[in-house]
């Protein structure tokens, strides 16, 4: 199930809130665990089993790790590795198996290998696998206590707000919230505001700008133009930000409604002045995870520059590969890894000296090209857009139709630009400080944008049957 659907809002969420707040307090985790499983199994019920096995394995190994942690470090380590493997094996199988088979079959004497048919990736497996691993590793490290309550542990992994697309919540960040959490009017209303903001980002901005990107991409197939190919990249750049950060906002908002506090996942990434800065602001929970469980264990930056570069390379290969089993994601990871190394070596010093506006343009350009690599799993199609952007291949600069469609979407793009900055929020707080009554706008804005989102969702399936015009 996805948040931006009518069925989620007007049956799932309604029923969940009703059960959660009317049933006795001690059942709350059980309610969340149950409804989360339904949420997860909505499209592909069979995969509930896969997830339950992962949860059970980590839960049981947790006891073994805990028992041996003080007395027998080696044994504890063995159990930790086993636990991690029992999780990763599903991820490897479902996500990467066919990728390896396809590439191995390119080797002449292995050409008889055939990909497994109908292998569908279980939704959210990359996210919940990483969450489970954070528990196992932290437990081994002694950073958290063993969770004896299966329902509480199951609730942690399956918690529907962040189950499908993060943020990746570390176990130790919410372990005490699993037992006791505070509910208040303040928190619930903050949750509503956050959820509606995220929903608006997703439905009003991401989905509409995505349609524009798709349009220009189709146009590119008929009549490539320089202006059109820039539009593809610009629109995808905004789409992924509003889609993903909108999802995180919705997750954080829903979490607040049911008493949880998740860490922030985005911090105005397009305000970044360098790629290094960008990755401190983008999908922070993933960067933190890799830093904590891969980069630092490898030695981080404490074992000399050469080792540090090696560690950066490993982390970014994995980050790229984590995003998808395809060569373009690996290239994407390598691309950012290389940029980060360049910045570490000398570029960051240069960027700090030049006027801010130039470093900002530099960062945005390379971020956008990154998204170009990210979006085109068909790398030759991506290359064609890339070359057209810079005037190669003899494409026209623009056409009358391209101009028309750019103008038509200009207001939307301007809104996206403004929406990527912290200024609207700053302006709001400034106004509230000046005129207290502005505060009363907040409920109206929140619920108004919610209704507008509903209108867009209803319309998205508004599909008159019009091909009877013959």
């Amino acid at each position: 199930m996805v948040f931006s659907s009518l069925i989620f809002l007007f049956s799932y969420l309604t029923v969940t809130l009703l059960l959660y707040f009317t049933l006795p307090k001690k059942w709350r985790n059980a309610v969340l665990f149950t409804v989360s499983l339904i949420f997860y199994g909505w499209g592909e019920p069979a995969y509930i089993l896969v997830m339950l096995v992962s949860i059970l394995a980590a839960y049981l190994f947790g006891f073994l790790i805990d028992k041996n942690r003080e007395s027998n470090k080696r044994k504890a380590k063995l159990y930790m590795v086993l636990s991690l493997c029992s999780n990763l094996v599903f991820l490897l199988f479902f996500k990467y198996c066919n990728f390896f088979i396809e590439n191995l079959s390119l080797i002449p004497f292995l050409s008889s290998l055939e990909p497994i048919k109908d292998l569908v990736l279980p939704v959210g497996i990359s996210f919940y696998t990483f969450q489970i691993m954070s528990y196992t590793i932290d437990l081994y490290r002694g950073n958290t206590a063993v969770q004896r309550n299966f329902v509480a542990f199951g609730t942690y992994v399956t918690l529907f707000p962040q189950l499908i697309a993060g943020p990746i919540v570390r176990y130790r960040d919410i372990d005490d919230q699993l037992i006791t959490r505070e509910h208040s009017v303040e928190k619930f209303s903050e949750g509503i505001r956050r959820f509606c903001a995220g929903l608006a980002k997703k439905v009003l901005l991401a989905d509409t700008i995505f349609a524009v990107a798709e349009y220009f991409q189709s146009l590119h197939g008929i009549q490539p133009t320089v202006a059109g190919s820039w539009m593809i990249v610009i629109c995808y750049t905004f789409q992924i930000y509003f889609d993903f950060s909108g999802y995180s906002d919705m997750a954080i908002g829903l979490g607040k409604m049911i008493g949880f506090e998740f860490l922030e996942n985005f911090n105005y990434p397009y305000m970044a002045g360098s790629i290094t800065d960008f990755w401190r602001r983008w999908h922070m929970s993933l960067s933190t995870w890799f830093k904590e469980y891969v980069y630092i264990p490898l030695g981080g930056n404490r074992k000399g520059l050469l080792k540090q570069y090696r560690n950066i390379a490993i982390v970014w290969l994995l980050t790229g590969f984590w995003h998808g089993a395809n060569w373009n994601f690996i290239l994407w990871g390598v691309y950012f890894g290389a940029l980060l190394m360049l910045e570490k070596t000398f570029l960051l010093k240069v960027l700090n000296k030049i006027p801010k506006v130039f470093s900002h343009i530099y960062a945005l350009l390379f971020i956008a090209i990154g998204w170009l690599i990210f979006f085109f799993t068909d790398m030759s199609a991506g290359w064609s857009v890339f070359t057209t952007m810079f005037g190669f291949g003899g494409a026209d600069f623009t056409t009358a139709t391209v101009n028309y469609d750019i103008l038509r979407n200009l207001a939307l793009i301007v809104i996206c630009i403004i929406g990527s900055t912290p200024y609207p929020k700053k302006l709001y707080y400034y106004l509230v400080k000046r005129f207290r009554t502005i505060e009363y706008l907040s409920p109206v804005l929140t619920c108004g944008s919610f209704l507008l989102c509903v209108a867009y969702m209803v319309d998205s399936t508004f599909s008159p049957f019009l091909y009877y015009n013959f």
Binding site: I7, I222, P443, V458, Y468
Partner: protein
């Protein structure tokens, strides 16, 4: 202070959330939307199998959207929101002056599978291939004169009402006039454009068809091309009956601009409609109109009872009249009351892949063949290419 706004937020949000949820459950399901002219999704049948393969959940998603309370109001709100961003269009429908609506046509790509909505670009080779098929048919297959009329789209005729580039219209016109053999093509765009510019009501504002007046002008051009200029019935001989002033066409159904005012629809008559019989398979009726359609949204289908595979329109008297075969789309339907004054008509629905035209010409002993195939169909389907 802070507390109050928080409470207002919660109360408002929960009222919307629970209100719409309850309304959704309480409201009876509708099975058909006349506005959208399609069946709506009703509550899907539950089975373990359907649940496991995801069919149940996808159907229930549609069920929610189709049966959602205040659906039409929400659709209109979305349309207004799009307009307020200066987009000038919604769901691929342009809003022009005088509340004129025009569709941006979708296009077919090289691979013919990949169809994108609202592109309004056409694939040259596909159009050329179809026009050449017509040339070939006229030269090699047909033993009687062949004519082709390609009714333009609203966006072509009414381009001055829209803030929209006309380069696609221009190049489509150019391809048609250079590719299609001169003696086949009945040019109709220039006349319609001229009349439109003069403020005449030649195309509906909310539908993709020409009006009865537009069809009359096309009829005049057709007769000229047939060399029957003397037989053209002057406009003032007809009595004009306004049969509907609340006609909302297909373009309106798609756009969500509910504020747009409706079209009027006219039937033109010489007072001799009952001299003719329209026959569709086993069914026949006197005159050219199936009045029952005027009670529905789909009013244009009142002309010869809409689209059917084979429609015959003949004089009731046993006079020897030439037979005109019309391989056609729905634009031909409103030509019928005019052309039937001169010919017995055989209308063949080419949209249903009925393209073996020489066989029909032989079967019905046609004396002339007139293709009526509008520009949008030319762009979006390859059907003409199969004519033989």
């Amino acid at each position: 202070m802070k507390k109050i706004t928080n409470i207002i937020t919660i109360v408002l949000f929960l009222a919307i959330l629970f209100g719409l949820s309850v309304a959704f459950v309480a409201m009876p399901d509708k099975s058909y939307s006349e506005n959208e002219k399609r069946n709506l999704q009703t509550f899907p049948e539950f089975s373990l199998e359907a649940l496991m393969d995801g069919k149940f959940s996808s159907e229930i998603n549609e069920y929610f959207a189709d049966q959602f309370p205040l659906r039409d109001a929400f659709v209109s709100i979305k349309a207004l929101a799009e307009l307020s961003l200066f987009k000038g269009e919604n769901n691929g429908v342009l809003l022009g002056e005088n509340e004129t609506l025009a569709v941006r046509t979708f296009s077919i790509f090289k691979d013919r599978l990949n169809r994108t909505d609202n592109m309004d670009h056409f694939y040259n080779q596909s159009v050329v291939r179809q026009l050449e098929a017509l040339n070939k048919f006229a030269a090699e297959k047909a033993s009687v004169p062949v004519h082709v009329i390609i009714p333009p789209r609203v966006i072509d005729v009414a381009s001055e009402s829209f803030n929209y580039p006309s380069n696609v219209s221009v190049s489509l016109d150019a391809i048609v006039s250079t590719t299609l053999s001169k003696d086949l093509l009945i040019p109709v765009s220039p006349v319609l454009k001229e009349k439109y510019s003069a403020g005449e009501y030649v195309y509906y504002r909310t539908d993709h068809h020409w009006t009865t007046l537009g069809a009359y002008y096309a009829y005049v051009e057709i007769m000229k091309s047939f060399g029957m200029e003397e037989d053209i019935i002057p406009r003032d001989k007809f009595t004009v009956n306004v049969v509907a002033d609340d006609f909302y066409g297909t373009t309106w159904s798609k756009c969500g601009f509910s504020f747009v005012s409706p079209d009027t629809m006219e039937f033109w008559s010489l007072g001799n409609d009952d001299k003719f019989t329209t026959t569709i398979g086993e069914r026949s009726f006197s005159g050219f109109y199936d009045m029952s359609y005027l009670e529905t949204m789909d009013k244009y289908s009142a002309f010869i009872s809409g689209t059917n595979d084979i429609t015959l329109v003949e004089s009731n008297y046993d006079e020897e009249r030439p037979v005109l075969l019309l391989p056609k789309d729905s634009f031909a339907n409103s030509l019928v009351p005019f052309l039937a004054q001169h010919f017995d008509l055989v209308l063949v629905n080419m949209a249903n892949r009925m393209t073996n035209i020489s066989a029909y010409a032989e079967q019905y002993s046609a004396d002339r063949i007139l293709f009526v195939w509008n520009a949008e169909n030319l762009i979006t389907s390859g059907n003409l290419g199969n004519v033989n």
